[in-house]
Amino acid sequence: MNEATTTARDEPLLSVQDLRTHFSINAGLLKAVDGVTFDLQAGQTLGIVGESGSGKTVLSRSIMRLNLGNNVETSGKALFGGKDLLRLPMGQMTDIWGQEIAMVFQDPMTSLNPVVKIGRQVSEHVRKHLAVSKREARGLAVELLKSVRIPEAEVAIDSFPHELSGGMRQRVSIAIALACGPKLLFADEPTTALDVTVQHQILNLLGLQQSERDMAMVLVTHDLGVVAGRTDEIIVMYAGKIVEQSRTRQIFQNTSHPYTEALLRSIPKTDQPSHTRLAAIAGRPPNLITMPSGCSFSPRCPYAQERCFEEEPPLTVTKEGHATACWYQVGTEANRAAWDKNLAAGRPATLAVAEGQVIDEVPLDIGAGGA
């Protein structure tokens, strides 16, 4: 979409253009993903961040062609190696799964087959795609399990999923995904069900494997902390649309969309003293069937003005490649004016943030005594 960095860029590995995934359900047309465009270069990591229902999972599943069901309509393009994945016959898609693009799912308890030993689950892909003998496949499976740091891989290969802990099972899913050396890996909330220590290990493992294999990765998560140190670029999604997209550092340091700002503010941080008032976001995510007119974040936005309720802001890109869909971007003069106006008018969404802010500004040493 734009030349974001100075690194020489050739053809992107994956190019998604105006992707829309709509579900027709009884209540109406549910626009889960509504016009998403992005490019991913080989070897890069892209983070997709958003709350439940923002469309981040449907987006990755649409590209993978995993939205099975006959009430789904997907339009747009997902170009991968010159082919449009969305138009490819299913028969050819099965050759891409595992070999070219692989996926790690959120729940390691349910994504493995409970009645098949993990060795066979890991070598299944290898046997299908690489035409190796049973014995060679077993050797490869042991190698793969070792590469994801499973202790005593020769023994573990004969265990069933229920004999392993959650973290170990997620390592097995990663081994399965990596088996045929894919060029692109979708990791859909790979650590949400895991403990912090295990999460740390799994994310490190993914990063390590990625750099060893020069593989591109799409890391889908609701946790900005997870993507902060581990991605090159971040997309923030809200109600099926991209609201902000930029290099990781830019997203955190020059946050420009009010939603990203609000998300960052609502996370409790260990360097804040206990009982710090958190800045909650007022209200709830919109209903994807009856979306508000104008900007979909406007009902919850502390800066919203009349224009926001009427006109939908386009995704505008700065020359540094920072894309934002907002009329009153954070850090601009117009944004400050909007804030003052809303505060004076007593807009509840603004007051909710303002109350949090007053407490944020108390010097950090309150209650930090006793150290």
């Binding site: 403990d195 912090v196 900005l224 550092r249 955190f252 996370i267 409790p268 260990t270 009982h275």
Partner: protein, 340 residues
């Protein structure tokens, strides 16, 4: 760590609830037992929030549930307001439990899907509350309003019509309707989005000061626990590692396990470089056959011979900061070890 001892307990006269030497064992096949909790002592002051952190399977939920005798511990004592809960008969315990309520992790499955919200919240009142139904309705409405749910809209709806955050607020209303003293919060925000999590945490703080509640708050997210707690206890494999005033714990963790937990939690800051080459092998040891001595020693970078042989006891490292470790990360006067 993974040590025992009671150096961190305060004067029994000052505390609302005090548990000593809690042991919970679950029998499994072939005569073996799962050592879920092995000798944990804790206390909570009136109006205080005690945070319990640790990985899955460390016994934090089991410990908290023991406090309200759900189930009663295999051995150990729990005193509440001077009453020994473990020795009460069923009827007396039933009465005592009106003071002790609980909020669960999964807000949707903790509400009966077939009942109306008004009935769900009124249920405790039907058992213990006023007989008069108008009075009951008044209490229910007041409680729903206190958690930010419009009673006129919600009363006749069922749980599936609400979002996860709203269901959690309804669970909180149900827990509060009998005007309890202590609320055990078992990972109440783990299943929620960050923006909703912030709402619930702020609300718990407000309700706590409004109703004078004492909270025991379980979570695996260290930042969440710090935000809400006055005092934090870190658990590992059924034992306590470290107990401290919360700001001090995060500023200067004394136990290697606390350090590991803090080092693992994701920080929303891109300048904090992540060393991806650090991938630990292995797993948490099994609570069926826990390691000898200090239970954390198999994963501890500082472990020595002594850690395998001798179980560390709780000792004070600074004011209101206690650790059970032979090699704490902050200096300790050796004499402090005998204070108990």
């Amino acid at each position: 760590m993974a040590g025992s001892g009671k150096a961190h307990l305060r004067d029994p006269g000052d505390v609302l609830m005090r548990a000593e030497d809690l042991v919970v064992e679950f029998p499994i096949s072939r005569g073996r037992v799962v050592n879920a909790v092995s000798g944990v002592s804790l206390d909570v002051k009136q109006g205080e929030t005690l945070g319990l952190v640790g990985e899955s399977g460390c016994g934090k939920s089991t410990t908290a549930k023991c406090l309200i005798q759900l189930p009663p511990p295999t051995s150990g004592t729990v005193s509440y307001h001077g009453t020994e809960l473990t020795s009460l008969d069923d009827e007396a315990l039933r009465k005592a439990r009106t003071d002790l309520q609980m909020i669960f992790q999964d807000p949707i499955s903790s509400l009966n899907p077939r009942r109306k919200i008004g009935d769900v919240v009124a249920e405790p009142l039907r058992v213990w509350g006023p007989r008069d139904s108008a009075e009951q309705t008044g209490l229910v409405d007041a409680m729903l309003e206190a958690v930010g749910i419009d009673p006129d809209v919600a009363r006749d709806k069922r749980p599936h019509e609400f979002s996860g955050g709203q269901c959690q607020r309804i669970s909180i209303a149900r827990a509060l309707v009998l005007n309890p003293q202590v609320i055990i919060c078992d990972e109440p925000v783990s299943a929620l989005d960050v923006s909703v999590q912030a709402q619930i945490l702020n609300m718990l703080e407000d309700l706590k000061s409004e109703y004078g509640l004492t909270l025991v708050f379980i979570a695996h997210d260290l930042a969440v626990v710090k935000n809400i707690s006055d005092r934090v206890a870190v658990m590992y494999l059924g034992k306590l590692c470290e107990v401290s005033e919360s700001n001090d714990l995060y500023a200067s963790p004394a136990h290697p396990y606390t350090e590991l937990l803090l080092g693992s939690s994701p920080v929303p800051d891109p300048s904090s470089e992540v060393d991806i080459t650090m991938v630990e092998e292995g797993d948490v040891p099994s609570p069926i056959d826990p390691p000898s001595g200090c239970r954390f020693r198999t994963r501890c970078a500082y472990a020595t011979e002594r850690c395998a042989q001798e179980e560390p006891m709780m000792r004070e490292v600074s004011q209101d900061h206690f650790v059970a470790c032979h090699h704490p990360l902050v200096s300790v006067a050796e004499t402090a070890e005998v204070s108990a």
